[in-house]
Symmetry: C4
Subunit: 254 residues, 4 copies
């Protein structure tokens, strides 16, 4: 066993939308799907473990330990499409591992007879922006038109999508699932980017016709803006220091 699916309950959704968000740049994928699972009160149905994950356990704030894992949820909805969600704090640590974890997740997609796949990640641009974009990459030209109604930016220069979000959409495309990968625009140096997460959530809200309460996320956005401001002040100050330093460095030339 190198990847193990540990289901507590059988899936009983009907042609659900399958949404994936795992550890990655700005933790946008994981945070988005965890927020969805939490605020929609989705039902946890299983876990995915893998020998391809990094070889450590997490020590939580209360000093208890947890293996790295991905959590699987389902949500049955009367008036809208059902959902199956997978989110977690780990991705594989080797190329082959990435493919094997994605293949196992696709077993879940196949079993669920998903009607659509949405994978979520971040795209680091190096720049801090006021209103982060959501970049989209899709399985077919046809679905691209449908998604572009939801304000997703389809005019970008993302050339490849690394890890689960890329591979699941790619394998999905091969197996004729329609789908999209949503990539939140993020500076790339933030451990967590709630603002980009919020932008992605708003796209999902439109795609799935949800009604999401952003209050908790808004608080985190405020906090992260403070952190960002401090970082920028620091950087500005460093810039000045470096400039001074530069003048000193040139001192011996004149």
């Amino acid at each position: 066993m190198t990847v193990r699916l540990d289901m507590e309950k059988e899936l009983d959704t009907e042609n659900p939308v399958f949404i994936e968000g795992l550890a990655g740049i700005g933790h946008i994928g994981k945070t988005t799907v965890a927020y969805l699972a939490d605020h929609l009160e989705a039902d946890k149905v299983g876990e995915l473990y893998s020998h391809h994950f990094p070889p450590y356990t997490i020590v939580k704030d209360n000093k208890t330990v947890d293996l790295l894992k991905n959590n699987i949820y389902q949500l049955k909805r009367d008036d809208a499409r059902d959902l199956v969600l997978i989110e977690g704090n780990a991705q594989a640590s080797t190329p082959q591992g990435h493919y094997e974890v994605a293949a196992k997740i696709m077993e879940l997609v196949d079993e669920a007879k998903a009607s659509e796949i949405i994978t979520i990640g971040g795209y680091g641009t190096g720049d801090v922006v006021e209103e982060p974009d959501v970049f989209g990459a899709v399985t077919t030209e046809k679905v691209k038109d449908e998604y572009s109604e939801h304000g997703i930016n389809m005019d970008h220069d993302v050339g490849q999508i690394v890890g689960a979000s890329g591979l699941i959409l790619g394998i999905g495309h091969e197996r004729d699932y329609p789908g999209i990968c949503l990539l939140g625009e993020t500076p790339g140096f933030l451990l967590s980017d709630p603002k980009a997460t919020e932008a992605v959530l708003q796209s999902i809200e439109k795609i799935l016709d949800l009604d999401i309460d952003y209050s908790e996320l808004d608080e985190k956005v405020k906090e992260s803006q403070e952190v960002l401001k401090k970082l920028q002040n620091l950087k500005g100050k460093q810039g000045q220091d470096q400039e001074n330093q530069g003048q000193q460095d040139l001192g011996y030339i004149g």
Copy 2:
């Protein structure tokens, strides 16, 4: 499954020449065989996928995604030898992966009962040359004499051939297939080298007695020459700057 051969059609060639060109230095292998497949209107018969490929999907210009893969083509010819071609945008990302992908490709060579193997790659020399050479490495002394009629340079200092081109020819030799690896001479720093690609194509044209239309490639050669000129101007300028810098650096010594 770590390497999967996904055949849409069965091969029905007779003792074809098997030609391989995959992602690599200057993309000479992939571009050469893709050009052959396109201009000879070869028939696509299958694809090769592998868990050993780098773990990402490509986002194409139209924003649809594709798994990394190798494409397999066949071409039946009345008046000349049949061809089986494999080209693609990926090679394995680990040593063991390289051997496993090569072993799977050799299954295809065996099944096709190939009469000859031609593998294609690039050899980076660090130098920009007007007329790139095509360096050859062969399975036996006997076939070397035959190939040298076609203007292939057999007097070079290539010491090893890394990846699919090397391993397929090596395993081929072990299994008594005659064959050659053609390496286009390339500076090594070009992402794509259409000029070296053209040189290799000209060798293949002679070996296989083909009649190739180079018009599309010629355009790309022109474009790449422009890029190269800009790069060299830039480098020349940098050289001057560094020289000036050097004089400044010495300023404090005197």
Copy 3:
């Protein structure tokens, strides 16, 4: 076979405490458990070998060679809980290897029907301290309360536990074994840290109600304190040299 358990004798302990200490930072894990095995005169019952260990043999002082391995011991006690110990000079050299070795060790834990798991390692802080702490991470809140009676520091900022100590406790938690990981506080740059080892041993002494003779370890603590003093003198001297150097470096600016 990638991990092999080579048992000379069957385990005949009853619900033992399972204690793991392998190669790692400051060699605290290995040294602690080896000291326990030696001073409690535990009975060697087997060895664990793995293709995931680093690919070399050890040359001992007498110039005979030994494969890297982990040693397994048991100790039956009339008036207290039995023990099963595993210590050794190697851990896996890849992520997947770490999980596979941990999975094999867990087979032993399961077979022994262990009543508790204690894993041991070091935590490098960068600082030399007079009285090294022992940091704890546990399987459940409930056992945390029990362990904190034994002077184990549960108020620290260890965020993850890499390797066997982390994975065995994590998998143990998943399988409902109660347990703790004890991490000796160590500067991080010491090849061997007997002082931190002694601190961990004292915690184990309390947990298991043992009576350990520290005389041999005390000698090593003295030796290592000498080494440390020399290192610090050296560092102090370097600091001064660097300061002088700094003044010289600034010389040309003024």
Copy 4:
């Protein structure tokens, strides 16, 4: 298959001495055993291939290609112990690969019912010496005494033996084969060190009571001494340059 033993002939030696020398530091192992095989006119009986070897083919001087491989020889002797030899231009490229290749070679040792194992490598000291030593590491104290009659240095500070030479002796020890690893003392920066190779051959000559003709090797020793002299002159010159440079660097301080 990750390691494949390809035997052309069955072994028909009786309790042979098994001698291993593969690619490694100063190519002492490979060169020693290849020299033995050649000069004793041993009979080639098979080859070993592995997916764990580095993923390239060798291009030989005549421009034909060869997969990396290890060659197996046997030599039946009327008046002395039979020999089985393995030499080659490759070792595994990963930790697990090293163990798997060594395990496959040990199948050969077991099948041959070897009476003794000799593995050969180099030990880089950083120093050029007039008379390179041969360092020994053994399976047991008992055999150490026997080998030390042959002028093998058993008073050294080699702490570990990486790769096939170490693992084969280590596994051999585990399976009760007597044996020794001979490590030729070498500066470490030489691609090939015929002088250290000659020293190792002289030890083997004594152990096996052979009569080796060193004439070919002597020529190579002369050649390598020339190379070494040039390297040292170069180094001496660089040293002087650096010294001058140092004086210039200090120029601005005074």
